[in-house]
Structure formats: C-alpha cells, structure tokens
C-alpha cells in the first residue's frame, strides 16, 4: 500500500549536513501496524514527516495506493492528507481552541456537519478519558492529557493511514494500554494502516505486525516483530529487545554468582520458540545430578512456543554440567556460558 523507494532527506545546518533519512526503501501493507524504533536522532520523526510530505524529500519516491505522493499536486495532496492522520511528538494543539474544538478541527476541515461532528468528538473524548475536560484549553492540561487530545484529533476523521510519532510516550501504562487497544480495534475493524514510532518495545510487541529499526537515517533491520525479537541481528535491535526484560543483562547483579568454582556455572538460556520444551528445567533436574538455580530473566508464551531468556546457575559436578548443557542445547535452546568480562 505504501511503497517507499530510496527516500532521503538532508538538513543543512551551519556546521554540517545532517542526513536525517538516508536511502530508505520499504513496503508497508494495507492494514498493517508497522513499528519504527531507533535511537534518539535516528531520523524516525523525519521519516514519518516525509510520508505526508510535511517534509519535502531530498530524493526518493513514496507511492500510496498506486499514487506517487511525491508528484502529487497541491490539491490532491491536500485531499490525500485528510485521510492520513498524524499524532505529533509535541502535540501541536491549537492553544486558542478548547479540547473539544481541537478534536473537532479535522472534521471542520473535512466539512462534516455539526451534528455528526459532535457525535464523533464526544465519542473520542470518552475514549481517551477526557470526559469533563471538553472546555479546557490546552494550557490547562497535563502533558498526558495534551497527548490524548492529539490522539483523538488524529482519529477524528477516520483516517486510512495513521502516523504516530511517540504517541504514547507521555502516557502512563494504563492509558497507553487503552490507547493501544483502541488503535488495534480500529485497525481490525477498518483496516487502518498504522505507522508507529516509539521507543517503548512493549508497545511494538503488543500491537505491531512488523518493525523497522533505524540508525543514523538508515533502516538497518526490518521484519516480523517476533522474528526480530527472537533473532535480533543488529546491535541496536538487540539493545531494544533487551528492554523487554530489562533485568536480564544486568551484569552487576550476576557478578556475585560467577566464580572460579568449577562446580558452578552461570549460563544464559535463550528460548527462541519453536521446538523448545517448556518443562526443560525440570527435565534436566530429573535426569542429571545438577541443581538449576534460576537467577534472573523472563520468559513468555507466544503462539510459537516459549520465548525469552533465563540466566541460570548449574550446580553439580563439572562433567554433569557439561552433559546437561549439551542436553539443553539439543532441545533447541541456545546456551551461552556467562563469564566475567
């Protein structure tokens, strides 16, 4: 549905040229929820701003529904944009309008009549939990409340494509979940295509179908969410995936367990779904004369089996430990001995 070809955007500052987006090619399907992650300054915001031509590309092409967006005339672009909702990182609310009026704005633009508009806006206000604050001005709202107005506004005109720039990063987990559920339900009901920038991996995990990882303007990795999560290739991706179980790699806390003692070995077990049996740890305990002490980590059940990482201490004779490790390896779980580096 959205096809991006060799898209680049350069900014000229006094000292240097910043290659905010650098030769990006991508295809995003209709009805897909597409996540974009990357470090601060990687070019994520610039990338989505190119998608509705708020930023004119330096080079490259964007095709939306067979139509070249980059060559669209002013008027056609305007019409197209009415069907592309956008949630801004900095909200960009009109301070002169109340919450209600801000949300009604895209409807006014699209020429929806007052009655229908009111219904829609009231519904959205309810959905984003701002009931009772309709007549407040943005300056009277908290950060998260402003963000929610921005979200409601972007959804008001039933867009076909929704661009979200850190739409939930000012929100608490409860509100985030509500908003995400809302997005998923619209996505399913109306085949809304969503492109979603975030640095919160659980957002990606919860609702995205595919994810792209940006680094210095380039897309360095792209794929199905689970695939990328299970098998992150790039260092950046690994760092992001790690966020899902933030404690697992805390070397400080593992240090105490890593000793010279031959009879104890700290290993990292990496469950990658598929063949891995769930009862692996008790199987090992039963079959071999070792104790498996779970130190830290997290594991979760996905459609395709267990997925996650556990750090465990194997406690037993050296030989037995080695055999157990082989056994675990053969069950389809990656095993890695952790040493003090």
């Amino acid at each position: 549905m959205i096809s991006i070809k060799k898209l680049s955007k350069h900014f000229q500052t006094k000292d240097q040229t910043v290659q905010a987006v650098d030769d990006v090619s991508l295809d995003i399907e209709k009805g897909e929820i597409f996540g974009v992650i990357g470090y601060s300054g990687a070019g994520k915001s610039t990338f989505v701003r190119l998608l509705n031509r708020l930023e004119e590309p330096t080079s490259g092409e964007i095709t939306l529904d067979q139509q070249s967006l980059t060559q669209l005339g002013k008027n056609d672009l305007r019409k197209k944009r009415q069907k592309i909702g956008m949630i801004f990182q900095h909200f960009n609310l009109l301070w002169s309008r109340t919450v209600y009026e801000n949300i009604a704005f895209p409807l006014e633009i699209a020429g929806v009549d007052k009655q229908n508009s009111k219904e829609k806006v009231d519904e959205l206000i309810e959905l984003v939990g701002l009931k009772g604050r309709e007549n407040s001005y943005p300056s009277q709202l908290s950060g998260g409340q402003k963000q929610r107005v921005g979200i409601a506004r972007a959804l008001a005109n039933d867009p076909e494509v929704l661009l979200c720039d850190e739409a939930t990063s000012a929100l608490d987990p409860e509100t985030t979940d509500d908003i995400l559920d809302l997005l998923v339900s619209i996505n399913e009901k109306l085949k809304l295509t969503i492109i979603l920038i975030t640095h919160e991996m659980h957002v990606i995990q919860k609702i995205c179908h595919r994810v792209a990882v940006m680094e210095q303007g380039k897309v360095v990795e792209v794929g199905d969410v689970l695939e990328v999560f299970i098998n992150p290739k790039e260092k950046t991706t690994k760092r992001f995936v790690q966020q899902l179980s933030p404690l697992e790699h805390d070397p400080e806390r593992l240090k105490d367990f890593i000793t010279e003692d031959e009879s104890k070995e700290v290993v990292k077990l990496h469950f990658v779904g598929g063949t891995a049996r769930r009862s692996l740890i008790s199987e090992v305990a039963k079959q071999f004369d070792v104790y498996v002490n779970i130190l830290q980590g997290s594991i979760s059940q996905t459609q395709e089996g267990s997925y996650g990482t556990l750090f465990v201490e194997l406690d037993g004779e050296r030989k037995v430990i080695d055999v157990s490790m082989d056994y675990i390896r053969n069950s389809g779980v990656e095993v890695e001995v952790v040493t003090n580096a």
């Binding site: 009415q82 960009n92 009109l94 002169s96 704005f105």
Partner: protein, 222 residues
C-alpha cells in the same frame, strides 16, 4: 466654575469635534483592520518558505505597503483628492478624510499583522496542513485565531495612531478634536481649548486601549 477655567471652550464645538473624531477613527479602524489583515496575510503568506511563497507578489505588495507608508500623510491626503472625490462624492469633511486615513494606516497595520503571524507556532500550521486543510482554513482557523491577541494589540496601537492622523486630516476640514485643538486652541493661543481637547483625546485613547487590552487578554488562552 467650568466656564471660568475654560473661558474659550464651547461645549457644543467640543462635542461635535468628539463625534467627528470618533466617526473618523471608528470607521477608519474598521477599514484599516480589513485592508491591513488582507495585506498582512499576503505579505506573510507569500514570504519565502510559507504557504504561497511567491517572490513577485511579495515584492509588489511590500512595495505598495512601503510606498504608502513613505508618503507623508499630509501629501497623501492631497494626492488622494481625486480618488476621494470619486469614491465619497465629496472632498471635504470627516467623510472625505476616510480614504486617506484608511490608505495611510492600513499598510502600517499590515506590517503589524505580518509580525503577529510570524509568531504563530509553526507546529500548529503543520498540524493543520497534515489534516489536509485548505489555505483558506489555515488562514481563518489557524493563523488568525492563534495570533488573535497580537492582532488585537496591533489594532489598538493602530487605532490610537489613527486618532493622531485625524488631527492632520483637519487640513481638508475633517474637524475633530485634534483640529479643534490646533485651530481654536493652538493657533488662537487658547490654552484652555488645547487642554480640554487633549483631555478628551486622552479619554478616547484610554477607552480604545482599555477595550483592546481587555479583548486581547480575554482571547489569550495560553
């Protein structure tokens, strides 16, 4: 008592002059507002990087605006006489002063409008663009709305400057308080008349300023 302090002040004249000043000011403020907003919008929108970015139109508008600000007001009045005659069917009195007053102050207000529009957050303009707003909508629902306090502030300043201009418009018999002060007060050395007129003008200025401040404050929801 008053008669002793102000021996030369004729109340009827003062009221007539007040009426004339108000008449000229109010009508020309309205005209200036409309013309100034239009010119200011054109200046802003055709500037580089903005919605209608157009060097030629910008250049022409800027030239027009600058030329009309450049011509000394007294000469402007005289230059406009044929135009005034055509438009108002008279070249004398308060009514005849209106074209010159409006044409003299609209370019000025246009610049204030331009400055106010430049202060509008680029982000909200982008937001409106991203919703597919027509330029028309962006102008009326974003630019003019978000700059309201500054627009009103600028209009207040212009209105008060206009009160000053009406005094000069006395040369074509427009009357008004400034003219009364000059003709019956200053030229005849009747200090009481000058003083009375000034008090009346100050009162009008205060009312305009107060109304402007009040409106601007009321509109400012930041």
């Amino acid at each position: 008592m008053l008669n002793e302090l102000f021996p030369n002040v004729i109340m009827d004249d003062l009221w007539t002059a007040t009426y004339e000043t108000l008449y000229m000011t109010v009508i020309s403020v309205i005209g200036t507002f409309i013309l100034g907003i239009i010119l200011g919008l054109v200046l802003y929108l055709t500037d580089r990087g903005n919605l209608w970015s157009n060097r030629l139109v910008n250049g022409i508008t800027a030239t027009l605006v600058n030329v009309f600000r450049a011509i000394p007001f007294i000469i402007l009045i005289l230059l406009l006489i044929p135009f005034t005659d055509f438009l108002m069917d008279t070249i004398r009195g308060p009514k005849a002063a209106l074209p010159a007053l409006i044409i003299g102050s609209a370019p000025f207000y246009a610049r204030l409008v331009e400055i106010a529009l430049k202060e509008v957050d680029k982000g909200v303009i982008e937001a409106a663009k991203s919703m597919g707003a027509k330029t028309h909508t962006i102008i009326f629902k974003v630019l003019l709305q978000e700059s309201k306090p500054a627009l009103v502030g600028g209009l207040t300043v212009t209105a008060i400057a206009l009160i000053g201009y009406t005094a000069i418009a006395g040369v074509i018999g427009a009357g008004g308080l400034g003219d009364l002060a000059y003709m019956n007060g200053f030229q005849r050395r009747n200090n009481d008349v000058v003083f009375a007129c000034t008090v009346f003008i100050v009162a009008i200025v205060f009312i305009f300023q107060w109304a402007g401040d009040f409106t601007a404050k009321k509109m400012d929801k930041r």
